[in-house]
Subunit: 95 residues, 2 copies
């Protein structure tokens, strides 16, 4: 199962569970595989840099940001999800 | 299945397939769910900003970066994977 398959599957499940699925969303998942479990875990620190990158492309409103952090054994996962406003808030236009 | 489960499962599969699994890795997955399929797809543009964020925390060597982009229907996925050098190249130290 490719990562795109995983996300398409998740989206399909969410679509079944929610009428509000049509809203535009950005989801950022950062996974840190550490070879040494004592290595520093910089994902919580990286969070604000990631939000700054998202903010460069779309208007981010604090109440529409969901942040989740999990750590187990030698793997840490940071998940940032931003639901975008109904109106088009894209800042960057492609050619 | 939580996202952490998905990644732990992937890591287990990779561990079975590779002897080099002990190397430290950072994986960034950006998923853009578009409500309007004609909306601009800024993920390819966002790629260089993400690499700049990673470079703030660890030393990134070009040959150790793998970038993959997929787009289907109303979902686009950008995957950036960085394998870190054997020696500790972490730039940011946590307290």
């Amino acid at each position: 199962m490719s990562l795109l398959d995983v996300f398409c599957h998740r989206q399909k499940k969410e679509r079944e569970n929610s009428a509000a699925i049509a809203r535009e969303r950005l989801q950022i998942l950062v996974t840190h595989h550490r070879s040494d479990m004592k290595a520093p875990d910089y994902l919580p620190e990286m969070k604000k840099d990631i939000l700054a990158v998202i903010g460069k492309y779309v208007t981010v409103e604090q109440e529409n940001v969901s942040i989740h952090f999990e750590s187990a054994d030698d793997i840490s996962v940071l998940e940032v999800e931003v639901t975008l406003p109904e109106e088009d808030q894209t800042k960057v236009r492609m050619a």
